[in-house]
């Protein structure tokens, strides 16, 4: 099957505004200037998923112009990371996209490992995959809860956050913290997998499909939900590609594109899962893609747990003393280990000179990082490719015939996290 299915066109031609592709301006031939009311929406508005500000031109209830203003959560992560050693820098990426916290950490660690040409043990690979898929479910639950809440399905929020808490409990068990775990370490994992994780993760995998059935029972038979989401916020496959979209937004527009299948990283080529693709390009199909992805993620977690259980007693981190901290108990008996520990903690390890770009499929799409190293212990340049930043570029193109009430549904379906957008 072709990657882009053009047999079912969502609409004719392109809806990307011109000349500015990310800002829709009212057409004076259609709407007289005097009829337009300009509304400032956000940045402190509960429906904007954080601190997004939209300047909306309204003709009655109809949105005729829109432009997004971002930057309210700009924290200078990239600049800060240039001042920290590679080793300390691992702490920051999780804070960038705080809803799918594990992915930026993963992509940063993978990029450093690519520069170091470091092999990591298979146990670490499979555990990274299991945790990442758990975070994908977590992120989609937050999407589902908040975006349904915003268009009136208030109870969804309580149900999704019930299961979200179970995922965070698993993270607390493995890493000691519920979010921003810093569990992925260059070379593998920071700690071994604790006893009891497998059993709890299995229990979660057993419970979660039933929970998804519940969500679907609440929404898919709900006439209000269907009417609020179907045919709203259309984006065609060609427009989505031209606007650089990725992840669920792209797959809901009929593009069969998932980096886990197309450019397999970790061990995604060894697990069995499907990539859901829908062809409507509307808010509803983006919701469908995410629901199906949660089910697929559960399958991946279950397969990873099966494989991990066979790896009891195997190392969880590479045995490269120039990069990886020595085991704690060796510090009391081995002078070399003590020196290595001291060197890595104070000076940091060196990363060979070069530039790499690594991308993974995060819940929001292609999450990438561009790293430049000059051969020293600190990164020369860190640049995140933020999927939320790119998703918000599509707001103007999705706004054809949208009413002010649907605006919130469209923004919610693009699932932008402002920490990721502004970095």
């Amino acid at each position: 099957m072709a990657v882009v299915d053009r047999s079912r066109a969502i609409y004719e031609g392109s809806r990307i505004p011109s000349p500015i592709p990310t800002a829709l301006s009212p057409n004076p031939a259609e709407v007289p200037f005097d009829d337009i009311l300009t509304v400032n929406f956000g940045p402190n508005h509960p429906s904007t998923h954080g601190v997004l500000r939209l300047i909306v031109d309204l003709n009655g209830e109809q949105v005729v112009g829109i432009s997004a203003v971002i930057g309210y959560l700009h924290t200078g992560f990239e600049k800060t990371m240039e001042q920290k050693t590679w080793w300390k820098g691992v702490t920051y990426p999780a804070r960038v996209d705080y809803v799918s916290f594990q992915y930026n950490e993963l992509v940063f660690v993978l990029a450093i490992e690519k520069l170091l040409e470091l092999e990591i043990p298979r146990k670490a690979t499979w555990m990274r995959m299991a945790l990442c898929e758990l975070v994908r479910i977590h992120s989609h639950l937050v999407y589902l809860g908040t975006s349904a809440l915003e268009i009136g399905a208030i109870s969804m929020f309580w149900y999704t956050f019930r299961e979200r808490d179970l995922i965070l409990d698993l993270f607390e068990m493995v890493t000691g913290v519920r979010m921003h775990t810093r569990y992925f370490q260059v070379g593998g994992l920071a700690e071994d997998i604790p006893q009891g994780f497998y059993a709890d993760a299995r229990a979660f995998c057993k419970r979660m499909p039933k929970a998804i059935d519940e969500y679907e029972a609440l929404l898919d038979d709900n006439k209000i939900w269907l009417e609020r989401t179907r045919g709203v916020g259309l984006l065609s496959a060609d427009d989505a590609i031209a606007l650089g979209q990725s992840g669920p937004v792209l797959r809901a527009s009929g593009v069969d594109w998932d980096l886990r299948k197309r450019e397999p990283y970790l061990a995604y080529d060894q697990v069995d899962f499907e990539v859901p693709v829908y062809h409507g390009g509307d808010v509803y199909d983006r919701y469908r893609v995410r629901m199906d992805e949660m089910r697929e993620s559960i399958r991946i977690v279950a397969q990873s747990i099966d494989r991990l259980e066979e790896m009891q007693g195997e190392p969880w981190i590479a045995d490269d003393r120039k990069v990886v901290l020595p085991p704690r108990e060796e510090l009391h008996t081995s002078m070399e280990s003590l020196i290595h520990h001291f060197k890595i903690v104070t000076e940091g390890y060196r990363v060979p000179e070069g530039e790499v770009y690594v991308a993974v499929e995060s819940p929001r799409g292609e999450s990438g990082v561009y790293l430049v190293s000059d051969g020293g212990p600190k990164p020369w340049r860190v640049k995140f490719r933020a999927p939320s930043f790119v998703a918000l570029e599509a707001t103007a193109s999705c706004m054809k015939d949208v009413a002010i009430a649907d605006l919130v549904a469209v923004i919610g379906s693009l699932d932008a996290v402002m920490g990721d957008t502004d970095r």
Binding site: I20, G71, I241, V356, R381
Partner: protein
């Protein structure tokens, strides 16, 4: 090589399994159009600007090491094992391209620029470049010619300086709202 026909190609580099095409900035749009239409790179994933001011020199961006070895006055610092290779100009702009098709591929299209040197906008080629170019302008001060809306995107409209440049001070930013306004 498959990319010999790219207009204005200066250099092709292969490193870490990634291909970098360095092109002449004056022919960037030509090269971008060629890569999109003839090589199928239909998705622009990212535009990453990097500032190489002080690259391979001492005492910038947290480096207090010396080329020869450890600086005794700065504990915890150490010099380079070897000096990094020099760069042609101060700024690099890397366009990370992706081919969304049955034959996926990635490529890095790169141009090198001096301070204040303008480069043509690729918004007509890939509309997604709009915000990426605004970010590169905001953070690094690279002017893009022909961009429809070149304004700051992450910082305030009246912000001074470009924060990700290597000569932008870290810490000690000037205090605003000091009563002198």
């Amino acid at each position: 090589m498959a990319y010999e026909g790219v207009p204005g190609l200066v250099e092709t580099r292969e490193a870490f399994g990634e291909t970098t095409l360095v092109v002449d900035p004056a022919r960037l749009v030509e090269a971008a159009t060629h890569l999109r239409d003839d090589a199928g790179f239909n998705l622009l994933a990212d535009i990453a600007a990097a500032d190489y001011l002080g690259w391979a020199e001492l005492g910038v961006a947290g480096y207090i090491g010396t080329a020869g070895g450890r600086d005794l006055n700065a504990p915890g610092s150490q010099g380079f094992a070897r000096r990094p290779l020099p760069k042609p100009k101060r700024f690099s702009l890397s366009y990370h391209l992706l081919r969304v098709s049955d034959d996926p591929a990635r490529i890095r299209l790169q141009v090198w620029l001096d301070d204040g040197e303008a480069v043509a906008s690729v918004v007509p080629v890939w509309p997604t470049a709009d915000w990426h170019e605004r970010e590169a302008y905001d953070m690094m001060g690279i002017p893009f010619e022909g961009h429809p809306n070149l304004r700051r995107i992450l910082m305030d409209d009246d912000w001074e300086g470009h924060p990700l440049r290597k000569d932008y001070p870290i810490g000690g930013e000037p205090v605003r709202f000091s009563g002198e306004e």
